[in-house]
Structure formats: C-alpha cells, structure tokens
C-alpha cells in the first residue's frame, strides 16, 4: 500500500487530490488522504465582490466532501505536525504515514506584524472580514478611504487595485464619489506588480482622480491620529482603512524545518519538490516561489504534481515541470476587465480591457467548481 497524504483543502489541495484520484482510479493499493478542516470550500475571489456588495454570500461555498472524488479519503481536521524524517503527519494525536506528501496549507493573515493595524483595519481576505467591510461601506457617505497593501507577499496581487477601482465605480454609481476621497498606497515604485500592465491601470487611476502613493512601506498605524505611517515617516490620513494585511506561511511548515523565516516552504521552482525531501511537494500559496500567490498558480501546479506523483507510483519514468504559469483576472470597474497570462519566460499579454474579460471573471466561479470536481484543464 502506498499512502499519498495532502494537507489543506483550498484550491491546490482539493484539485491535486481529485487529479491524483483520476489518474490512479484503478489502483487498489493506493490511498489518497486529504486533511481539510473546513466543512465548506470557499471560492476566495468572490470575497472581493462580496465586500463591495456585488455578490451574494451564498454563491461562494460548496461542501468539500461533495467536491471530492470518492477515491479521496477526507479527514476534516487539521494536521498539527509533520515529521519529515520518519514520514508521517500527526492529527489530533494520531499518526498518519505517507509515501508522498503534498503541502497545500496556504497562507495565514498576521495583522499583528504591523503595529496598530489589527482592530483598525478592514479587509476582504476572509469571509467574516469581507462581510464586516461590506456593512461599513454601506453606511460610508463621506471621508477618506485609504486602500492598498500593508506588507508583501500577499495573495492575489491585483486584488487591492481591483477593490479600489470597483469602489470608485460603485461610489460614482451612487453619487457619493465627490464626497469620498480615495488614496491607494503600495510598497513598490508603481501601483501594480506587473510593469507592462501599469500604464493601463495608472490611466484609470488618473482619469478617475484616485490618489496614490508608491514606495509606501507601512511601518505602523496610528489609530489616535487616523494615520498610516510609512518607514520613511511619510503619513496618510484615513477615515476608513482597507489594507491587505500581512501574510505568512503556516507554523507547521516552520516547525517541520522545511520553511524559511516567513513560514514559506522551500521548493524547487520547476519540480515543486521540497529541497531536501523529494517525496514532499509544495503547492500554491504555501511555497516561497517568486510567483503570484493565486488560485490559478495552484491549479497549474496541481497538474504537475498529480502527473509526477502518479507516474512515480506507476513506475513511469517521466516527469513534467511547472513553467511558472499564472493567470490573473483583473476587474477595473465599468464592467470591464483584464486577463493576464504569464509564466517564468513570458510576460503577460492580452492587455486590452474588455467586457468579455469581465464576464469571464463573473462566471468563473461556476467553472472553478466544475473544474475542481471533474479535473477539467
């Protein structure tokens, strides 16, 4: 019996489990176990729309068990420790041995890394926070909203920018834009990470009178003065603060000795195998790869991992590499969007905002769940 253990029921963990099950469906002596503590799987990109009152909270959840191939053994509890030397994980005191381990534990939000941020900030990176932000925005008629990023890395690089542009669009629709100022802060020297997209987005910011401060590295938040203070002392005042909080990897990765200082797992950028343990793979947000922390990355990586593990199990000496493939669907408001496709060797192309791209993002939720269940490409 060979045991494949997957930790984490987000995009990467769920898709890789199903793809492995599809490839190994007729192998009786293969066990695929997925540890996913949450009962419901959430489609995270919809949280952006939810926070702006542009989506229904009932749309984005599916029962994790119902998304999974029957060959996958789902255990709805967290993994508390990984023993990489003796090849087992521990969950609620019980040991589970593995021959192959896939770590898909994602990122965690750690607002406490920035003094003054917790309790004074709003965001849309989890369900309850998105709902709270939605409710605050419903009553916000006048003042300054500061948006942007508190620290890097963070999930879904375009999200803070999309939020700002959609917020502007929504405020204009409701006739509130003249009484609400928007200021966006970002830690690098432009408003977005992907440089050949910046002119398009900056034009939107300039046309719509959205102020921005680049190279703004948040040092702390002063709730008394309602100010965000940068490392170089620059300040920006807010009435409502919406910053993406700092992200870090999971503690079990650091504890297992396979992560860097940030808790991100060290993997080979092509094979996705842990540097010193070839039977361990990392996927999605959990890794320290210099690629976007995005569901699309986990999706593309899942094909590589499922292929290479199943080939190894079946004794087929063929491996494929992850090429850095990433897709970012970026909303800019006014029912228009961009779809950015790129990899390690090719910068993004297809940079024309269109209604078709917007519709693709709106309807992607249904494709996401269908893809997850049936292993579509």
């Amino acid at each position: 019996m060979k045991n494949i253990v997957i930790i984490g029921g987000g995009t990467g963990g769920t898709v890789v489990a199903n793809r492995l099950a599809n490839r190994l469906y007729d192998q009786k002596d293969i066990s695929i176990t997925l540890f996913a503590p949450e009962k419901n799987h959430i489609y995270q990109p919809d949280l952006l729309f939810l926070s702006l009152d542009l989506s229904d909270p009932r749309r984005m959840f599916r029962d994790e068990q119902k998304l999974l191939n029957k060959k996958v053994n789902l255990i709805q509890q967290p993994v508390d420790a990984i023993n990489v030397d003796n090849k087992f994980v521990i969950s609620k005191g019980k040991k589970y041995a593995y021959d192959y381990l896939v770590i898909a534990t994602g990122a965690r939000l750690v607002p406490d890394l920035i003094p003054g941020l917790a309790g004074n900030n709003n965001h849309f990176y989890d369900y309850s926070s998105a709902m709270q932000l939605r409710d605050k925005l419903r009553g916000f008629k006048k003042g300054v909203i500061v948006t942007g990023v508190a620290d890097v890395p963070y999930k879904c690089p375009p999200a803070p920018l999309e939020f700002t542009l959609l917020l502007d669009y929504k405020l204009r629709k409701y006739g509130l834009r003249s009484s609400v100022d928007l200021t966006y802060i970002y830690p690098i020297n432009s408003i977005f990470t992907i440089q050949n997209v910046v002119p398009i987005l900056q034009k939107e910011y300039d046309t719509r009178n959205i102020a921005y401060k680049t190279f703004f590295i948040v040092d702390h938040v002063d709730p008394e003065k309602h100010e965000v203070v940068a490392m170089d002392g620059e300040t920006v005042k807010y009435d409502l603060l919406v910053l993406i909080p700092p992200h870090r990897g999971q503690q079990i990765i650091s504890d297992a000795g396979i992560g860097d200082e940030g808790g991100w797992m060290s993997v080979d950028k092509y094979t996705l195998q842990e540097k010193n343990h070839e039977e361990i793979y990392g996927i999605g947000d959990a890794t320290n790869l210099p690629v976007s922390k995005a569901g699309s990355v986990a999706h593309f990586q899942s094909g590589v991992i499922a292929n290479n593990i199943s080939n190894s199990v079946l004794g087929i000496d063929e491996k494929i590499n992850y090429d850095g493939s990433t897709m970012c669907m970026t909303e800019i408001g006014y029912d228009k969007g961009l779809i950015l496709l790129f990899d390690y060797s090719h910068p993004p192309y297809g940079l024309i905002p269109s209604r078709l791209n917007h519709l693709a993002k709106v309807f992607y939720l249904d494709y996401y769940f269908a893809n997850m269940m049936y292993g579509l490409p």
């Binding site: 890394l113 620290d151 890097v152 890395p153 830690p187 690098i188 020297n189 432009s190 990470t193 992907i194 440089q195 190279f215 590295i217 490392m231 170089d232 200082e261 940030g262 950028k269 210099p290 690629v291 850095g324 790129f342 390690y344 910068p347």
Partner: protein, 79 residues
Amino acid sequence: MSDEKVTKVIDARGSYCPGPLMKLIENVRLAKVGDVLDLLSSDSGTKKDAPNWIKKTGQELIGIYDEEGYTRIRIKKIK
C-alpha cells in the same frame, strides 16, 4: 565585492520585476538590524528599482555586482 558576511541570499532569478523587489521587501522586514542580504535577480529592472527602494527606506546599499546572467545586490539593514 565587499567582504561583509552575508546573512541571507535571496534568489529571485527567473522572476520578473518587481518579483525580486517584493522578495527583498519581505526579507528586509524579517531581517534583524545589522543583517546583510544578497538579492540575486536576472531581471534588469531590479538594478534600478532595488537601489531606489533601499534609498527611500533608509537602508544601506553596499554594492551592485554583475554576475553571469544575473545581478547581485548587497544591502545592509541599518534601521
């Protein structure tokens, strides 16, 4: 090349700008005052962006070194 002891090497080769800069920002926040970091980048934009960021945040740029197919940028966290 300076002979200061490097605390950490950040290998961001193969990542497009500003990927290397993002890795630098993350690591500078995690580093201790006095740590020396080497950022390796194959993206030509980093040669301009990283020194600008270092200057803006008041850290110390020790040097920029051209290696075969990439650039090594050495920085010291001083605050």
